[in-house]
């Protein structure tokens, strides 16, 4: 996890998108809740853009 955080911070610095940091932290907290509460399935009607 530490490796990941180090690399992710390096990425944010490289891209100079510091404004993304608080948004991403919020998203990750919020997203973690989703992970804990449900699974997922991708509908076959869309090009998987993600």
């Amino acid at each position: 996890m530490l490796d990941f955080l180090r690399e992710f911070c390096a990425f944010i610095f490289e891209r100079k998108k510091f404004w993304l940091l608080p948004v991403i932290i919020l998203l990750m907290v919020f997203g973690s809740l989703i992970v804990l509460t449900q699974g997922t399935a991708i509908a076959p009607f869309i090009y998987t853009i993600f």
Partner: protein, 609 residues
């Protein structure tokens, strides 16, 4: 000199694959779907990697560098920014995609390392590199090409941010000069129509292309004026008011349906004229955008060579037009132009751009005819056949060719399994179903009784390279079946002009009706002796018997099934379909000498594509 080995990996999106290069030479490449039997398998390519190591007698620790074909953080950045830009719309998609990212994709590096550690517990993570999605495509198009310098055009659905890029390749370097970013995308535009016409996205695009000649491009202007902002240099923006893919779970929305005054066609329902006209229209728009971009680039850079990759480069009709219009003197298209080819491009990019190795240009074919996948010896095959209690005969290759060519000329349909498997979506004579193109009922028979697929879909010919210009208006080679060309006038048969319907394909419009589409075109594969000698000799023998130097060549699979990989896959497909003869290297298996009880229900084994 020590061999430097690089392993390229593409995975977790669609069409997972592995590629091995040694000192810049392409040694091996294969797709996970061929082993897992899951079409477009996106899982980590563990079975393909296992085969790669076994085939080349290697352990993972003998590989010096490993490179993944795209950058997950950059993709995550795009997702977050897209959700923010569209918020509060897109919340549902966010709810779906975030778990995938937070569970797996954001920690891709760890995921890949964990998978690699299953092959080599002491795997050193410093060996792992990441390329960019479109750089991988560009590298897969430029480095194997025979050009010192070339303009590189890549276009697909989406990578990280880029959906379309233009670069210049010179010697061992590639510079990406321009890009169009998500959500504007040629690939997504075509996929949106694929969805609307009732085909499966990222799989049915070929069908849309095949359906287009049945219609008229009545809606091309409507598409250009409402869905696109198209500039003079070919750059474009998609009007997101009509699309749902950025925020929803469909490709198009209600406004899109209202524009064409019809709801999306339900999969497997019947086709109306409007569906054919819309297919013709989007194909026409696609052609005009790509040609506009390329004409503008030619003017701007005055480079005479062009390299193409990305899923859009699999649109053979567009490729045929690029060739025909002679915008560039020479064109080279990566046969594995989709994401599987990203593994190959990433490996080559690392060798040339990161390690800065000198590029030695191979004027013959660095891709080795795309025959760079797994193979099976006669011993392997005999063992499999004996285990399956199959009745067979074994012939030496020259006798085998005579036997098979004669059978084909008498109307038999043959499953042809020889040497190393092709890399990329096309079967090129290693894992192919081959038949007589002169037979007027063959197209219908192959579609409905062998491939179990839609009756309107055309078949492609393999033609002797030295004969191709006598049969097709083609002034270049097309070894990878990536170019559509018209048949020569003297090969056509004049028919009464009637309204085009889906049954028009059954009209006899040429001397080779089974490979002639309704607009008298065909997706040609030119076969040369040096790349595929056995297949060349087979077509030559058929030529001797019939005076026709071409065969129908379609991939050895049924609808929804990945192309057969092993002798067992081939045998199962043979027994589950109406194929007459199976040829596995030197072994010949005839259907009528097999026991009926082995016959299996094959048609429903694979989900429809």
């Amino acid at each position: 000199m020590k061999k430097v080995r690089i392993l390229g990996i593409s995975a977790y999106f669609h069409d997972s694959a592995v590629t091995l290069i040694e000192n810049g030479e392409i040694i091996y490449a294969s797709q996970e779907e061929r082993f897992s039997r899951i079409k477009h398998d996106s899982n980590f390519p563990k079975q393909a990697l296992k085969n790669l190591l076994e085939f080349n007698n290697l352990r993972l620790n003998q590989i010096d560098y490993i490179i993944f074909f795209e950058k997950p953080f950059l993709k995550f950045e795009r997702l977050v920014e897209t959700y923010l830009a569209f918020a509060p719309k897109g919340f549902k998609q966010f709810l779906f995609s975030m778990p995938i990212w937070l569970k797996q994709k954001l920690f891709m590096k760890k995921e890949i390392i964990d998978e690699l550690k299953k092959f080599e517990p002491k795997f050193e993570k410093k060996k792992l590199f990441f390329s960019e999605h479109h750089l991988s495509h560009a590298a897969s198009a430029f480095y194997p090409s025979p050009f010192k310098k070339a303009l590189i055009f890549t276009a697909d659905g989406v990578g990280e941010w880029a959906t379309t890029t233009v670069g210049i390749g010179s010697q061992n370097n590639i510079n990406i000069l321009k890009e169009i970013n998500f959500p504007s995308s040629l690939g997504l535009l075509y996929s949106a129509f694929t969805y609307y016409i009732g085909f499966k996205v990222n799989s049915g695009e070929y069908k849309l292309m095949g359906l287009a000649p049945y219609g008229k491009p009545k809606y091309a202007n409507l598409i250009k004026s409402k869905l696109l902002d198209l500039k003079d240099d070919g750059s474009f923006r998609l009007n997101q008011d009509y699309f749902d893919y950025s925020t929803g779970f469909k490709m198009t929305n209600e406004k899109f349906s209202n524009l064409f005054r019809n709801p999306p066609r339900k999969p497997e329902s019947s086709f109306k004229k409007i569906h054919m006209d819309i297919a013709a229209s989007i194909q026409d728009v696609m052609e005009s955008i790509v040609l506009k971009i390329l004409e503008s680039l030619k003017k701007e850079y005055s480079i005479e060579n062009l390299c193409l990759a990305g899923g859009v480069a699999l649109n053979c009709v567009v490729n045929g037009l690029i060739q025909k219009k002679k915008i560039f003197k020479n064109v080279w298209i990566q046969p594995a132009a989709g994401d599987a080819g990203g593994s190959l491009g990433a490996a080559l990019a690392l060798w040339y751009m990161h390690l800065k190795k000198k590029r030695i240009i191979n004027n013959k074919d660095s891709m080795k005819g795309a025959f760079i996948g797994p193979s099976f010896s006669n011993e392997d095959i005999k063992k499999s056949l004996d285990t399956l209690m199959v009745k067979y005969i074994k012939l030496e290759k020259q006798k085998l060719i005579k036997f098979v060519a004669k059978k084909i000329s008498k109307g038999k349909i043959v499953g042809w399994f020889q040497n190393r498997m092709e890399f990329g979506p096309r079967a090129l004579g290693a894992r192919s179903i081959i038949a007589d193109p002169r037979d007027k009922s063959m197209q219908k028979k192959l579609n409905l009784k062998i491939k179990f697929r839609e009756s309107f879909r055309p078949f492609a010919p393999s033609v002797l390279q030295d004969q191709s210009n006598k049969w097709f208006n083609l002034d270049c080679n097309s070894p990878y079946m990536l170019i559509v060309s018209d048949l020569k006038k003297d090969k056509l048969i004049t028919i009464k002009k009637t309204k085009k319907t889906l049954s028009s394909i059954n009209e006899i419009r040429s001397k080779v009706p089974s490979i002639t589409h309704v607009n008298n075109s065909a997706r040609v594969q030119t076969v040369n002796k040096s790349t595929n000698p056995l297949y060349y000799d087979l077509i030559k023998e058929f030529f001797k018997i019939t005076k026709t130097p071409l065969l129908i060549n379609t991939s050895f699979n049924i609808r929804g099934e990945p192309i057969v990989c092993t002798p067992e896959d081939a045998y199962r497909c043979f027994m589950g379909t109406n194929l007459d003869i199976l040829v596995l290297e030197n072994f010949i298996i005839e259907k009528n000498s097999q026991q009926n009880k082995i016959k299996i229900n094959y048609k429903n084994k694979f989900s429809l594509d």
